[in-house]
Amino acid sequence: MLKKIIQIFGVIAKQLAVAFFFACFLIVIINLTCGNKIQRYISLINMITVMDKTGEDSESQEISFDSVKKKLASYPSWGTIWATLNIPSINMEAPVYQGDTLDIIKYGIGHYAGSYYPGEGSTIIFAAHNSSQHFMRLPQLKIGDKVIVYASYGTYTYEVTNTKIIKDTDTDSLAIQTDKEELIMYTCYPVNVVGHKDKRYVVYAKLVGEEHES
């Protein structure tokens, strides 16, 4: 009986060894023929990974500024707070987030990622909802009113130079310029109408003062 059991085990072990050899042989063949392709696909799949940091819990992010090059040395991550916007004349203060998607501007002011940052000497674009905590009172701003951006790398003061009502399709009015620093803030308009709003209220402000963090 024991002999028979040992014999059966022997056969199974032999079969397992052959199967293992077959498996290894097949793996070697696959690796030699399409190993590179498989590796490439795996890298691609692993690249389809998005960190979702947007939301009320987004932590404020420290970013540094290269004052020689007049450029940020490190950029904020998508959906994180990197500054605070303060407009004393309309008593508004809100966090500025990186990005201006609807998901982001639900929580605060959205910074259009394709625009520049305070101190870089070009156009900075901020967008927000016309809600009471954000840009509802933007149409009350007058020329000469101060707008302050408190970034982790410095404080930038702007002065309102112009206001405009545009169509939501008018992107020319929000064009990015690199020859002067200008802060553009916009929100949906008219504020007191219910339903879809196809106009935008735009405020333009020029840089009048800057203080860099040492």
């Binding site: 028979k4 014999q7 059966i8 056969v11 199974i12 079969q15 397992l16 052959v18 199967a19 293992f20 077959f22 498996a23 042989f25 097949l26 793996i27 795996i42 799949i45 692993n46 389809i48 990974t49 998005v50 979702d52 609807l102 998901d103 501007i105 639900k106 909802h129 016309n130 809600s131 949906c188 504020v191 007191n192 109408v193 219910v194 339903g195 879809h196 709003k197 196809d198």
Partner: protein, 269 residues
């Protein structure tokens, strides 16, 4: 010489049978899971996809509420989880059967219009521009349609999925015929046991493949289209890997049983 040739032929057949088995197991598993309309609909239900999607739709719609000057209460009960489920059924069916995809948002629009009218009346608000309100309703309906249909991305796989299913069906039939022919050849011409080695090989390959897949791909971090569909895919992939591992274990057991039974049977003879 003849014995040696038979031996080489025997192992060659077993090697081919192992590959055929592996393909058969993989394709059948795919056909019964990802490529099965019923399975996918069941999984959508099991993973709570409709409830998750319902919350996301409401979240997305509330983005438009802030700018509209209305209150979030206008979104109350404008759609239900059952409505999403029904629409998802329509979409999945149209993808798997290559039919036209139509999501009817009339009911949602009607509910929203009623809620808005009630809100305006309650707060004594007069609408100066009805077009703005109509566009708002259309916008909310678009959010629903876009979220349920995954922004039309499912259209990309619509025509292709149907073809893939046909090819897989043909391949499974061809592999089954090959398996039968090879098994008969091994059994009656070479007079050897048939399944043990191919089963063991397939099981080894599945174990190694699953281990490699789990360790080289970060399944939990995959982000495709949106959070809901990503977590759904993550769950489906995990289930698929567990199922394959289970199949590998079963194949191992069957292989061992075949050897044991044949040995006992041979000794009795």
């Amino acid at each position: 010489m003849k014995v040696r040739m038979r031996m080489i032929l025997h192992y060659l057949c077993k090697f081919i049978l192992s590959i055929v088995f592996l393909l058969l197991v993989l394709l059948t598993t795919l056909r019964l899971t990802i490529l099965s309309e019923k399975y996918m609909l069941k999984q959508f239900e099991k993973t709570g996809y409709f409830e998750k999607l319902s919350k996301t739709i409401l979240d997305e719609m509330s983005n438009y509420i802030i700018q509209s000057g209305l209150d979030e209460e206008v979104l109350n009960n404008i759609y239900t989880t059952d409505m999403i489920e029904k629409d998802m059924h329509t979409i999945i069916t149209s993808i798997y059967r290559n039919q036209d995809m139509n999501i009817d948002t009339t009911e949602l629009k009607e509910n929203l219009e009623n809620n808005v009218a009630a809100y305006l009346e309650k707060n004594n608000i007069k609408v100066a521009d009805q077009t703005s309100l109509d566009r708002f309703v259309d916008q909310i309906a678009d959010v629903y349609q876009s979220k349920v249909s995954l922004s039309g991305n499912l259209n990309l796989v619509k025509g292709k999925l149907n073809k893939v299913i046909t090819y897989v069906n043909i391949a499974v039939i061809a592999l089954l015929i090959t398996t039968i022919l090879l098994s008969l050849f091994i059994k009656f011409y070479l007079k050897k046991e048939v399944f043990a080695i191919p089963f063991f090989t397939t099981a080894f390959l599945i174990f190694i493949g699953c281990y490699f897949f789990k360790n080289s791909i970060n399944i939990n971090n995959i982000m495709i289209l949106n959070k809901e569909i990503s977590s759904f895919l993550t769950e489906i992939l995990s289930k698929l890997l567990s199922r394959l591992n289970l199949i590998a274990i079963i194949l191992m057991i069957i292989g061992i049983m075949e050897t044991v039974i044949l040995k006992i049977f041979k000794t009795k003879k």
